[in-house]
Amino acid sequence: MRSKPLMLTILDVLSILVLGISTYLALFFAPTERVMGEVQRVFYFHIGTAWTALMGFILAAVFSIAYLVTKNLKWDRYQVAAIEVSLVFFFLTIVLGSIWARPAWNTWWTWDPRLTTAAVTELIYIAYFMLRQGIDDPERRARFGAVYALIGGLSAPVTFFAIRLFRTIHPVVIGGSNAEAQGGFAMTADMRVAFFFALFAFTIIFIDLYWNRIRLGELQDQVEQLKLKVTM
């Protein structure tokens, strides 16, 4: 069995390090926002997890096409890993957003386009795993998974635009502005440091988890093949 690559071990340590630094920056270094107060600090991790999860979902849709074209099971492993890590990260995004929304919007949840799309996206990828669980043949599981991840990946942005026909109250901190948005704010220089470091930190953490998950998938396949050899 192959031992863990050195780069991956380094990345593991680095992940813990940047998570620590990012926590410090978000909780102590960044100034307290004037209107919302301490709860605004949730924002740094909220964006960090959201950004990485969305990248993961986009990657998964790309791997769908790669798998359907090449029929190489490698792409399937990459896809499962991307979706699994993103699903957890996106769930964190929703929970963190809810914690922030309670004081800022005076409600845990509202049927805003972003929130609704986030919930629907989570449901799509939960359905993805339920679909995979019902299929034993690894090759068919990969094919169906790729098809569903492609359809799901296409439908999530369409859902977003569909709901956007209604009004939104979600603030847009980065680029663009919306007069109806509630809870928006302008970032100071120190906030920006914390913000960009959080983005960087969560990207590192995501890559680390992602890599570990791919390795786990490869090991799982090896175990399955060994089991087949033993029983034969």
């Binding site: 359905a127 669980q133 439908s155 369409v158 569909a162 026909l165």
Partner: protein, 235 residues
Amino acid sequence: MTEQRPASQPAPGSFLKAVSAVVWKDLQAEFRSRELFSAMLVFSLLIILIFNFALELDIKTRQSVTSGVLWATFAFAGTLGLNRSMAIEKDRGCMDGLLLAPVDRSAIYFGKVISNLAFMLVVEIIVLPVYSVLYGINLFQPGLLFVILLGSIGYAGVGTLLSAMSVQTRTRDILLPILLFPVVIPVILSAVKASGGYLEGLPFDEILSPLSLLIAYDIIFIAVAFMVFDNVVEE
């Protein structure tokens, strides 16, 4: 068959012939048993009945929730039909027979979409007047019928692809709504908005955006489903 042609170069018009053969097969089988149609219809009427109690459909609320009630009914009845129509193919080994036929796989897809759409439309055509009579709302407006057609096309297009997958899994019919509902939300949403707009008599440019979204969804998803259908039925 008079001559053998390579699959890549089918005879002109043979694609349409293959599609209509699949549609005709489904319609004829349904015409003899009437299993699917009667189940979908009775189920739809029951859903409307449940909504009647769940929402207390008095005159005031009726106006605003009618399009929502209709689309929820169509969506639930639709899964029933989609499941059944694919399960029949799988159970009696018909799917294997269809796949052996020397036609393009996408012809099978389009054939199934059209027959599924036909079942949905027939049910809808009966549900609409019943609803109109029960609640005193005139649902026979050309615009509304057009929205129902567009919504059903999108629903059947994606639903046929996903039901072809779900019948091949261990969980089978439980899985279809779980797979289908999250991805057809844009259809349901824009269809509800557009039908609501027609029922409230809004000006056309307010209905235009959900309507164009519905058309865009239909085109995008049927094109994608058409491209990936091979992967779903391949053995």
